[in-house]
């Protein structure tokens, strides 16, 4: 990846992180979109799996720091998702919005499954309800918003012609 592409990817990453801490709490939906997952997936497909794992770990720790009871759960889940996304980028990374939407949906859902299981705060029926109802809904919203942002931020996210 060229220097310009790296800068644009970093800017996009920061924009997504900023949106996660501004737009998401402002909307306050029951099934919220996850801009951190979007930022992680978009960064992960551009770097090596080991780098993606480190980015996921750091990003997970950042998100966990705001919920100290779950410290480590988000880091573990994001590390796994980022590594998997980077490892499977040959399969999923394509200039196809539907495929990207599925990519976002899967990444968010896997993250939620790992996060809620690792967090061990929710149990029983509530956990099933969370994983089979709210998490897919949140993943769908995240995928929709991710596709929309990909469309809007296409100039930033496209690889440079050189």
């Amino acid at each position: 990846m060229s220097m310009g592409g790296a800068i644009r990817a970093i800017i996009s990453f920061l924009i997504f992180v900023a949106l996660h801490y501004t737009l998401r709490p402002l909307l306050g939906w029951r099934a919220p979109m996850d801009f951190l997952i979007l930022a992680l997936l978009l960064a992960a497909v551009r770097v090596r799996p080991s780098t993606a794992a480190v980015i996921g770990f750091v990003l997970g720790l950042i998100s966990d720091s705001l919920a100290p009871d779950a410290l480590g759960a988000g880091a573990l889940a994001m590390t796994t998702v980022a590594f998997g996304a980077s490892y499977l980028k040959a399969v999923f990374f394509a200039d196809n919005l539907v495929l990207n939407a599925f990519f976002f949906f899967l990444g968010k859902w896997v993250f939620d499954i790992m996060y809620f299981i690792g967090e061990q705060r929710v149990h029983g029926v509530e956990l099933v309800q969370q994983l089979l109802l709210w998490s897919p809904l949140s993943a769908a919203v995240t995928a929709a918003v991710g596709v929309l942002l990909l469309f809007i931020m296409r100039p930033l996210l496209e690889p440079s012609p050189a």
Binding site: G28, A53, Y87
Partner: protein, 372 residues
Amino acid sequence: MARAIRSNTRVDLIVLSACIVLALAARALPNTMRDPVATGMRRSFLAPLVMLQERSEKGRQSLLAADAKQAYLDSLSLNSMKAGSLEGENDRLRKLIGLGSRVRWGFVPAEALHGRGIRDETTVILSAGSRAGVSRLSPVIAPEGLVGVVDQVDPTMSHAMLWTHPDFRVSAMSPDGTAFGIAQAHLTGATGGYLIELRGVPFRATLKPGALIVSSGWGGVWPRGIPVGTVLEEIKTSEGWARTYLLRPAVNPADVYSVMILRRDRLAKGLEGVWQSVAQADAAAQRIVVSGDSAARTAALAEAAARRAVIDSMARANGAPPLGAFDSTRAVTPRPTPIRRPPRPDTTPRDTVRRDSVPPTDTIPLRPGTTR
């Protein structure tokens, strides 16, 4: 090439394993160590993100609270709009309670139910009937004064004729008993139905504007002393033998909601002193007005005298005669009437014809063919 790929894959797996181990370690930290780590991160490099999230949360709370605040403001505005009418109603009820305590017994409290538009208000339905002791021709009163008279009675309700009704009459007088007349609705003119006429007042009796008029007690329907209205002005009518006055009614028919119906047995005992405070207040107000007028008149006289003295002294200092002959304060200063003396006979002989010593010099040219 294949070795490099395998090496990279091994590095990736090692890094992944390290990250997973670190994450598990963080997850396994006891609470006593987990909180300081999270707090340290929040207070250091995550502080801007935390601040952003706080502001967004506050913004959302503000947005959510905006509707509630608007609803609160709306209900507050609505209540403040109702407050005026509630205060008026409270005031009326307080007055009614005060009237009840003065009347003491022999009355039936009732609600007046307005059936038609306010401008057509000549009758009302009262929420008390014969079971409560109401009978036909029972007077209906309010804290302010006379309202009307019951003309039909049902067991549970009754029908009353307000003073605005064309057939309504009540014998009225001034509180001191110097002027008597018959009060009825003033039905002519733009204010028809909203003012009262006091007709048949003897010509020798004059009423000043603002004078209180009360019921006289003649006729057997109305007890003596119920306020009917206050004098506005005298109006000219075709009746040359008596005066007619226009009264402002004591009770506005549109404001009649809570009333009292006097029972027949109460009428026999009279209502002396019930509205005495009203009459006293009216008399006191009249006295205040009169004393205020006399005080103003005295002040004006004193000022005029002082001004005249100053003008005279200035004229005297200038060597001129005093200006008393053309004193500007003459209009306000009462001057003694000059004593007229019989004219003296003229003893000095004088010419009966005054001759001109100056020849006429007319500057206006004569028209041709005319003579001066």
